[in-house]
């Protein structure tokens, strides 16, 4: 019974994608299209929920099983270099949690999109892409081998590309360089290309796994790897290359640059793909491969450092942005950094916990920003907003809940997950006080930029033309998902209340069997609740509170202080405003040399010179030869007769004297 339910999780959205993609143009009724688009995801969520509820009743050992749909690839069977891979889904504590998040949050965002995309020319196209995204994402999280995971991995990348460039005729401001010249297509291309760079890492890791272990199945690879000693060079490279893939997909240093530009897409896309689900694929992959990372402690350190650095680095950039969605984008990059920090200190459960709570509150924040953008008629600059609190109360209150949750204010969900990460960063055998310090600083930054955003958008004076623009609350299809997500942003953390706060940390116990092999390899020392844990908790909460207060004070009451600060740190401000010139550096170091090389050598040299040269050359040679040979045809019949005679004489001579 349950094994038949597993493929259904994926088949529902697949059917939705095929139906909408093939017949969408014929259906003119947006309600029907929207119901199909979101309904399929809803059914998928119900299937996943059914499986989850059944799993709750089972013993922990039965909770992990795989369902083979069909054999996919089988080559060189029977030889030493044989390779086989099947289309198999794995259900376990980790994948079912991810499936619930993807389909649950995905469903709410689909419903929201019915309101947000109302009247759009590509309404059906939007929903078919979104359904395809859900299919690919589910393949990614449910896969039982690396190859199928890669299929989903590339699939979500494709959907991300399609949806970032969804409004392909629109101009898009990429910020610092070449303002006003880019189209949303350019942002989509950037996302695609940067992701491809990461994917090379993933591919190389797969090649290495196949070369060394002869298989790409999770069980075989992890089984073969766990025989090796920790620090083995093979596992080191596999783990590192996989992490390169993760930095691309999950927007970490040095490949984070695509995510802020990805905001060119419609807001529900940013919420679903670039906040709640796709960008967490890297976290999921690291968690899935926890055994490999446990065997490569050096890579764990790299992961932790990259994660912590990204958390702070992205936070500082978010501090000065004025585009409502870009602030949230940098915030996403920063929060993903926290999750990688958790992975890096071997707190896999904490990372997944933050992934889940982040999916709730970041989807909420994005959808809220979408409601604001909708009300402001596509205005995204928070300097031109203000005072929207009264006009859109539901959006304001839900947005405020999201902002409090992300800032880590107890007892909202973000507090529990972020605090667990920070505590693990401090106390874990792989953590250090420095990592905690960086993380806590990032938490203060988070609170500051979030409340700068909230204050500038919803409070204070209206800075838009109140005669021309009358902001209004979003329709029900948009506010209901906001309210549901707000509820989850509040209560979502209760599944992971730590023992030190008299909770049971249910989520960590639920996930524990998945990470048991990794934890066994790492030989972690468990920590009992200590005084220092409460102290650190208090410090991080007060940092968040300080950030909130600072944000509110600076941007509501003491605007003069903001200007003074800007004048005082004019250079720092300029660097931040230009996003550390990273895009410019990449442009100068990688993009332009590549373009120049392609233009001079590959285009003008090889393509025009060699390829076109060969084609045109053979044509020219033939023409020359024809010019010369046509002189044989004199048109004088007697010449032909003479040649004819000569030929006969030749044949006769040959016949007679051979």
């Amino acid at each position: 019974m349950l094994t038949t339910l597993v493929p259904l999780i994926v088949l529902f959205p697949l059917a939705g994608f095929l139906f909408l993609g093939l017949l969408g143009t014929r259906i003119k009724n947006e309600t029907v299209l929207g119901l199909i688009g979101s309904g399929t995801v809803g059914l998928s969520f119900l299937s996943a929920a059914w499986i989850f509820l059944s799993m709750l009743a089972w013993d922990a050992v039965d909770r992990s099983f795989s369902v083979e749909l069909f054999p996919w690839i089988a080559s060189f069977t029977g030889t030493p270099s044989s390779f086989s891979s099947s289309f198999a889904y794995r259900i376990d504590q980790l994948s079912i949690l991810m499936t619930l998040v993807v389909t649950g949050v995905g469903f709410l965002i689909h419903v929201y999109s019915i309101g947000y995309m109302q009247g759009d020319r590509g309404f059906w196209r939007f929903f078919s892409y979104m359904n395809l995204f859900i299919v690919a994402m589910l393949n990614l999280v449910l896969a039982d081998n690396f190859l199928l995971m890669f299929l989903g991995w590339e699939g979500v990348g494709l959907c991300s590309y399609l949806l970032i460039g969804f409004w392909y005729t629109r101009k898009f401001d990429v910020g610092g360089y070449k303002p006003g010249t880019a189209f949303t297509n350019d942002a989509a291309k950037k996302a695609f290309v940067v992701n491809r760079i990461g994917d090379v890492g993933f591919l190389l890791a797969m090649f290495l796994m196949f070369d060394r272990f002869g298989s790409l199945n999770f069980d075989s690879v992890f089984g073969a790897a766990s025989v090796l000693s920790p620090g083995n060079v093979t596992v080191f490279w596999i783990a590192l290359l996989l992490f390169v893939g993760a930095t691309g997909k999950s927007a970490q240093i040095p490949l984070y640059v695509w995510l802020p530009d990805a905001m060119a897409g419609p807001t529900p896309v940013s919420a679903l793909i670039h906040a709640a689900t796709m960008v967490t694929a890297g976290i999921y992959m690291v968690a899935r491969c926890s055994v490999l990372y446990a065997l490569a402690p050096d890579v764990l350190t790299i992961v932790a450092i990259i994660g912590a650095a990204t958390a702070v680095f992205a936070g500082t950039m978010g501090l000065v942005q004025n585009d409502i969605k870009k602030i949230l984008a940098y915030s996403t990059v920063s929060q993903l950094g926290y999750m990688f920090l958790a992975m890096g200190v071997a707190a896999f459960g904490a990372g997944i916990f933050h992934l889940m709570t982040h999916a709730f509150f970041k989807a909420l924040l994005f959808l809220g920003s979408g409601a604001v953008i909708h009300a402001m008629h596509e205005e995204q600059d928070i300097q031109k907003m203000g005072g929207l609190k009264g006009a859109m109360p539901v959006t304001f209150w839900t947005f405020l809940i999201g902002a409090l949750a992300i800032s880590g204010i107890p007892p909202l969900s973000g507090f529990f997950s972020k605090d667990e990460i920070l505590w693990k960063a401090f106390s874990s055998d792989y953590g250090s006080p420095i990592l905690w310090f960086v993380g806590a600083g990032g938490a203060a930054l988070t609170a500051l930029y979030m409340f700068r955003l909230v204050t500038l958008t919803f409070e204070g004076e209206s800075r838009y033309d109140t005669r021309a623009l009358h902001p209004h609350e979003a329709p029900k299809t948009m506010t209901v998902p906001l309210i549901i997500l707000a509820v989850f942003s509040v209560i979502g953390g209760f599944v992971g209340i730590p023992e030190s706060l008299l909770g049971s940390n249910a989520l960590e116990h639920w996930l524990e069997p998945v990470f048991r092999p990794a934890n066994a390899k790492l030989a972690l020392h468990p920590h009992d609740p200590e005084l220092i844990e409460y102290v650190l908790m208090a410090v991080s909460v007060s940092l968040a509170a300080a950030g909130i207060t600072a944000g509110r004070t600076l941007y509501l009451k003491r605007k003069d202080l903001v200007e003074q600060l800007q004048a005082l740190f004019v250079r720092t401000y300029k660097v931040l405003w230009n996003k550390y010139y990273v895009d410019e550096v990449y442009d100068a170091v990688f993009v332009r040399p590549t373009v120049r090389l392609s233009e001079s050598l590959l285009w003008r040299g090889f393509d025009v010179g060699v390829i076109d040269g060969l084609v045109n050359g053979s044509a020219a040679v033939t023409a020359k030869l024809g010019q010369w040979l046509r002189r044989i045809q004199t048109g004088v019949a007697q010449v032909y007769a003479t040649v004819f005679l000569g030929g006969i004489l030749l044949v006769l001579t040959w016949l007679l004297f051979r």
């Binding site: 046509r630 045809q633 004199t634 048109g635 004088v636 019949a637 007697q638 007769a641 003479t642 005679l645």
Partner: protein
């Protein structure tokens, strides 16, 4: 009794004269006549062999050849007349438009 070699020698001489005429002469009518000469030389060969072998097939074939040659002569002359009407000449050096 004249032997076969004489007939064949005469036939070959006629044929070669015809070939030389076709290749060297400029007047289309004379070229045409040379072709007829070649044709009839071959006829002579056929008849000679027929007589030598005591088999009538060769002679019957010659009748057919003559019939076809008559038809061909009509067509050939018609072509020459058509050419003359177009080009006001039957000098085949000037009739050289059958090229590229």
């Amino acid at each position: 009794m004249i032997d076969l070699h004489t007939y064949l020698g005469l036939s070959a001489t006629g044929f070669i004269l015809g070939v030389i005429g076709v290749v060297t002469r400029r007047n289309a009518i004379i070229v045409f006549m040379s072709i007829e000469l070649m044709l009839n030389s071959v006829n002579l060969t056929l008849v000679a062999f027929s007589s030598f072998l005591g088999d009538a097939t060769g002679q019957i074939l010659v009748f057919f050849v003559m019939t076809v040659a008559a038809a061909e002569a009509a067509v050939g002359l018609a072509i020459i007349i058509a050419l003359f009407r177009n080009k006001q000449t039957v000098n085949i050096d000037e009739i050289n438009i059958l090229k590229w």
